[in-house]
Point group: none
Chain length 235, copies 4
Amino acid sequence: MQGQDGERDRRGARNGGEPQAGAPACGSSAEVPAGAPDAEPRRGRPRSAAAERAILDAVIALLEAGEPLAGLSIERIARTAGVGKATIYRRWSGKEELFVDVVRDMEPTDPPLSGTAGLADLRVMLESLRTRGLAQRSSVLLVNIFAQMKSHPKLWEEYHGTVIAPRRVAMLEAVRRAVAAGELRDDLDVELIDDLFVGPMLVRTVHRPDAPLPDDLADRIITALLQGLAPAARV
Amino acid sequence: MQGQDGERDRRGARNGGEPQAGAPACGSSAEVPAGAPDAEPRRGRPRSAAAERAILDAVIALLEAGEPLAGLSIERIARTAGVGKATIYRRWSGKEELFVDVVRDMEPTDPPLSGTAGLADLRVMLESLRTRGLAQRSSVLLVNIFAQMKSHPKLWEEYHGTVIAPRRVAMLEAVRRAVAAGELRDDLDVELIDDLFVGPMLVRTVHRPDAPLPDDLADRIITALLQGLAPAARV
Amino acid sequence: MQGQDGERDRRGARNGGEPQAGAPACGSSAEVPAGAPDAEPRRGRPRSAAAERAILDAVIALLEAGEPLAGLSIERIARTAGVGKATIYRRWSGKEELFVDVVRDMEPTDPPLSGTAGLADLRVMLESLRTRGLAQRSSVLLVNIFAQMKSHPKLWEEYHGTVIAPRRVAMLEAVRRAVAAGELRDDLDVELIDDLFVGPMLVRTVHRPDAPLPDDLADRIITALLQGLAPAARV
Amino acid sequence: MQGQDGERDRRGARNGGEPQAGAPACGSSAEVPAGAPDAEPRRGRPRSAAAERAILDAVIALLEAGEPLAGLSIERIARTAGVGKATIYRRWSGKEELFVDVVRDMEPTDPPLSGTAGLADLRVMLESLRTRGLAQRSSVLLVNIFAQMKSHPKLWEEYHGTVIAPRRVAMLEAVRRAVAAGELRDDLDVELIDDLFVGPMLVRTVHRPDAPLPDDLADRIITALLQGLAPAARV
DNA sequence: TAATAATCGAGACGGTACGTCGCGTCTTCTG
DNA sequence: CAGAAGACGCGACGTACCGTCTCGATTATTA
């Protein structure tokens, strides 16, 4: 009617006004406000970074306490965080948007750095995927939150766009480098190659949560792919 | 579960496992459980099969109308179906159980028949997966219902057990046949081989809903896998 | 949006479905359903008379406990009555409508019966007004609830129409009878006469809540009015 | 009352009664409270009279726009006035106190001057009451604000004490003068006489807002009261 | 033919949560 | 210091559903 959206943030504004003295300062990377030179001054009392952390922590705490996540209500989160509901709605437009940030908040930060050329990077990435899978399945939290996200198309798309897609781009790049370096055949669609590498790992980490993820899984996949599955004929 | 279960059905217990080929007659005729000869006669007015269909149809109609599924409430379903809420709760213990049946109700019924030996079956199955993927992404309904299912562990497990697992078993069997027939190397873990085949297809159908699913995708995957990705082969 | 008013009652329907066995049966007069011959059957579970009483009693209890009435929230009333909020909203569209019924519920039922002719009835009515005033000012409850009502125009109008206006009509009738019987001058507007009688009493009961209301007040007013205020000249 | 009262004003102590004719310049210039010469210096930026007027005007504007007054929130008033909420709370401790000042702000300032002796003054006062009644009922604003005040005991008491009571005192004085001058009987309680005069007028202006208030109403009341209602007089 | 019993649509029931609004206080920056 | 702005914890608003519980009215089977 009249409000509809009073300048809602929905993440990204966490940087808005660098942690004012007294706030617990959660992140690690220090972002210089110089990056946004001509932004409007943002009048009024600034949002409390403490409240923000309290909210995220409340969600995490509840999930770790074994809550089924579908059982998390904004009301309960607010109560647990010792925060008004409005303080949540001021930042996120709903449960799902909040959950994205919770996930972002606990992301293993970043994939390992990659070299400049070759198959080695592919192995690193595959291995990272495996590790991630192990971590994820060990945490009730992540299992649930991922499931929840997948059930919300918009949510998933956002997560996909910000987290998954970049990884895929990096992966494709590595494949191209490997092809260029003569480590892989050059008569195949790079996208197909990419899928051949990633697919098997994904099947195990995502689709069969009970499947083993042995230490040498990445190696075994790569070796098998390079050798091919055809029998003696190849010898 | 939650109180006094007044002889609840829950579907599935009704028809155990055998695929009730086609809908079991949606008219009004009362079907005698001839399969269970000496069951107690079930006195009183029998449940209306019409009501049952109306409920399932209501869910499907709502989903097809673009409802986000999370937005489906028992109340709305009942209202849409022109049915009392109790009539739903008499059959299913909750939304999720109902959804399982809805999915069951629209499953493409069965995977294509499989031959008796070899790599050919693998190709058939892969192709079936692809087709299924095409169908699924063309239907808002299936996309949603799958997402929802994944977000509900119990649901997903049931679906997995009834639908996915059997397929995987069949797949593994085919792999073993292929190995035995000398069509595939015999020095690799069959599970790994299976993942190498299924993974790439799954990546495209499930994880990248925008990815193309060309007609020859199954072939290309199989060929690439057999040949191997090492460039030497080309020399 | 879609509901807006699902057949709300707002009093009067209390009779709707005579107290079903087991309900505490609050009223006293037994109403025969034969009076409403062709009413629609009112399907579904009937409203609980017990809940209704619990709500009214909760309001009364809270008010008697010294609550400032402005401090009564639907939420609190529901909690006190052990009732869902919806159960209140199903019957009344808001706090004010509820309050009207609370007042109705505690009305001293009815003014005393009136004879058929004369000044005597006027005296009876005036005396009733005085008594009512005494009762009202002795009850924190009534003081508050009246104040609240006056602050809600629509409310007050309803109360005025159902309770006050009829009294005034009766009063006017009595005045006319008195005039016809030669007890009062016949060259004055009856409305004016009525105001001359009622006004002084009202000033004391309503406008000056601290003013004394001696036993003989009605008599003194009547006597003074009949005699006139002019001094010796009249003798 | 509710915490640490940081030198709150509450209006009325500031300008007592004198009407600050017109709005005292709504610009930005800080006006020195030259009117109160020897008050403590009040360091820092002085309160803006412009803000004060803006607030009062906002309330009046909203009321004139047909707002139900119960629907007036401090937030809305502040928004309408283009003022911070704190600026309101710095002056008044709550909605009601503000409303008192709004009423004071629009009082017809003063009752008409009264002579020194007799029944004539009574007539003047009664006539003033009538005029006031006409004005009040012509203004949605006054109707509402009065209703609201009556519903708030503390408010009403304040208004009563400052506005109503003095009038009654003056009235009683006039009655005494009339009795002393032999214009009225001397064997009656002056309070009763007062009520006999005021009551009928009050009934019409306050209790029956639809009742006519003809020009000669005061006269007719006085005449009837003096003559008395007994028919014998007529013979 | 009647009695018994489970079903049906409808809707009320005590609850929980929704997302919004207002309260009165606080915290920032600008004059 | 006072000003606008707006975030804060809190609590109530009126609505939607939850899963259960009556209602009167159907339909079957059993006596």
